[in-house]
């Protein structure tokens, strides 16, 4: 259990770091996929098998592929540009991220009292239970989610399909 956790967390942290730092966008996205998959493994360690499956299905199968498509549509295919990849105020960004980590997140985590072991060692929710809770306390949320996804679908198509560029517009 411990070994699996450390392996997966090493993979997740490396994947995430490479995903944000690699120059080549396609490589960055592939590293992101490894990050997603290692998080799915983490969910399996936490006995949330269904969430692991959904994580792979949605993140690797859909979001990752979507990002790859977006890269193909907006970027040179090789992705090897020699330009500066960091923004102008990158030092401020680095400082802010480290500050958040070391002054807010880690102190709070290290100082608070947390349970060391799960209350029920072998509890794994069945898909049936997840489905039933979606139908009983979370009905409205589920409906809203459906609405959100539909709106996102239509919105994405509408935003991306406008092919009018500023120079094509007739000037009045």
């Amino acid at each position: 259990m411990n070994i699996a956790f450390y392996l997966l967390s090493a993979l997740a942290v490396t994947g995430a770091l490479l995903a944000i730092r690699l120059r080549n966008l396609v490589h960055a996205t592939l590293c992101l996929m490894f990050f997603f998959i290692s998080l799915a493994g983490m969910y399996v360690l936490l006995m949330a098998e269904f969430i692991a499956a959904v994580q792979i299905l949605v993140y690797v199968g859909a979001v990752g592929i979507l990002i790859l498509f977006a890269i193909m549509l907006t970027h040179h295919i090789t992705g090897a540009t020699r330009e500066r990849i960091s923004s102008r105020g990158w030092l401020w960004g680095l400082g802010a991220a480290l500050a958040v980590l070391f002054t807010v997140l880690l102190p709070v985590l290290l100082l608070s009292v947390l349970p060391a072991a799960p209350a029920t060692p072998d509890f794994s929710p069945s898909v049936r239970n997840i489905g039933l809770s979606l139908m009983d306390p979370y009905t409205i949320t589920l409906q809203v989610m459906g609405l959100l996804l539909t709106a996102a679908l239509i919105g994405a198509v509408a935003v991306a399909s406008t092919s009018v560029r500023p120079q094509d517009k007739p000037r009045t």
Binding site: A52, A53, V54, I56, V60, G61, I77, S124, V127, R128
Partner: protein, 415 residues
């Protein structure tokens, strides 16, 4: 003694082997776990590449006969050693990597393709108690792991640094993503009626348990066959949609646009040679087995087939012909149909391919879900014919609507 217990119930051979082994290794629990892992993975890793070899031979022979040729007949008896010869040839070939390619991704792609292809096999129940991972989320796990396989295809296409490869890779992704929707929607019906994502429960739902456990052999046979999902209107439609989408999902003819050799050389495989090409090939065939296996599990009754209980057996669920024999028979029947289709149909055009998925299969799959819901609540003597009529009407209607967009019928003057 051990052999006797193993042969007593041929259906449960691996389970009994595990129990025997566990009894021997009682002292060391870690070894028992290792034995369990070995017994559930080694057969998969051994059997499916062998099936791959047989299928390449079957495919070459079948296609040859369809075209009135003889097919491979030199290596071994009826050319049966041809896969071996192919394998040796592939191994000995030079492994060419394009100079401008992305070395790491180019190397990783075929390896990464094999991982999801083999892992999805672990949720298929090959026989009673013979499932490597009896996950509660079986079906969704299958699709989740299967959806990873778009990634190596893209990696292969992109890393080769070849425009044909890239085109093939992009085509493959677009096709796999589009056809995943009707594929998943067609399984929803089965999951709805069974009330579980667990593949074992889905198979058991397709058996009439009290007939099988009864004493009448005729009823035992009927009970194994009669309740297959494919024998209901929604099941049959679902099976057709599933099968067609699975053809697209594994890039088989007539949806083999990603590797359309007459248009884009070999798509994402263009820059692969030697052993890596063989790995790609194997990955494709193993995913074909996996998705046929899922079709068998969901619609064709999994391991159940015309079967009776052996007269010597005490176990009420024992089977004379082992369940995995039926499973593999049905799986190979589906593979043969795929070969037959490959020998018959020409390749689709890209826009037709997309239109077929989004304008025909997806609406039909959605309608099918409603029909399955109605079937669940209606008595069967109404639900069956009514479902059939509604499904047929929708099929014809969708066909008519789609035909209008196809334009006038083309006349081939020189063909």
């Amino acid at each position: 003694m051990i052999l006797n217990t193993l042969l007593d119930n041929p259906d449960q051979i691996l389970v009994n082997l595990f129990h025997q082994g566990a009894a021997l290794l009682q002292a060391c629990p870690a070894l028992v776990i290792a034995l369990g892992i070995l017994l559930s993975t080694v057969p998969l890793v051994a059997i499916f590449p062998a099936c791959f070899a047989i299928t390449t031979w079957l495919e070459r022979k079948g296609l040859a006969r369809i075209q009135n040729r003889i097919g491979p007949n030199r290596a071994g008896w009826f050319g049966l050693l041809q896969p071996m010869a192919d394998g040796i040839k592939m191994l000995l070939k030079e492994d060419i990597v394009p100079q401008t390619s992305d070395r790491l991704a180019h190397f990783l792609a075929p390896v990464l393709l094999l991982i999801p292809a083999f892992t999805v096999l672990s949720v298929l129940p090959f026989s009673r108690n013979m499932i490597p991972a009896a996950a509660d989320t079986g079906v969704i796990l299958f699709f989740a792991l299967g959806s990873i396989s778009t990634l190596p295809v893209f990696m292969a296409g992109w890393s080769s640094h070849n425009k044909y490869s890239l085109l093939g890779g992009m085509r493959a992704i677009a096709q796999m993503v589009s056809y995943e929707i009707p594929l998943v929607l067609s399984t929803v019906t089965v999951v709805m009626l069974t009330g579980s994502l667990n593949t074992v429960k889905i198979v058991e739902f397709q058996q009439v348990t009290h007939w099988i456990e009864g004493s009448n052999p005729a009823l035992q046979i009927l009970g194994q066959v009669l309740k297959w999902n494919v024998f209901t209107p929604w099941g049959f439609t679902g099976f057709l949609i599933f099968f067609i989408s699975s053809l697209a999902e594994i890039n088989r003819c007539p949806f083999d646009l990603p590797e359309a050799d007459s248009e884009i050389v070999a798509g994402h495989l263009t820059e692969y040679s030697g052993f890596k090409y063989a790995l790609f090939f194997m990955g494709e065939y193993v995913s074909a087995f996996a998705i046929s296996g899922l079709a068998v599990t969901l619609f064709l009754g999994g391991w159940s087939g015309p079967n009776i209980r052996p007269w010597w057996s005490e176990d009420p669920r024992a089977l004379l012909i082992p369940g995995f024999v039926w499973f593999f028979l049905k799986m190979f029947a589906l593979i043969l149909i795929m070969i037959w289709i490959r020998g018959t149909l020409p390749r689709l055009r890209v826009d037709h391919l997309m239109a077929f998925a989004w304008k025909f299969l997806m609406p039909l799959a959605l309608i099918n879900i409603f029909i399955a819901g109605a079937y669940y609540y209606l008595p069967h003597w109404i639900g069956w014919p009514a479902g059939l009529i509604v499904i047929y009407a929708c099929y014809e209607g969708l066909g008519r609507i789609n035909r209008r967009h196809l334009g006038p019928k083309r006349i081939y003057r020189y063909a």
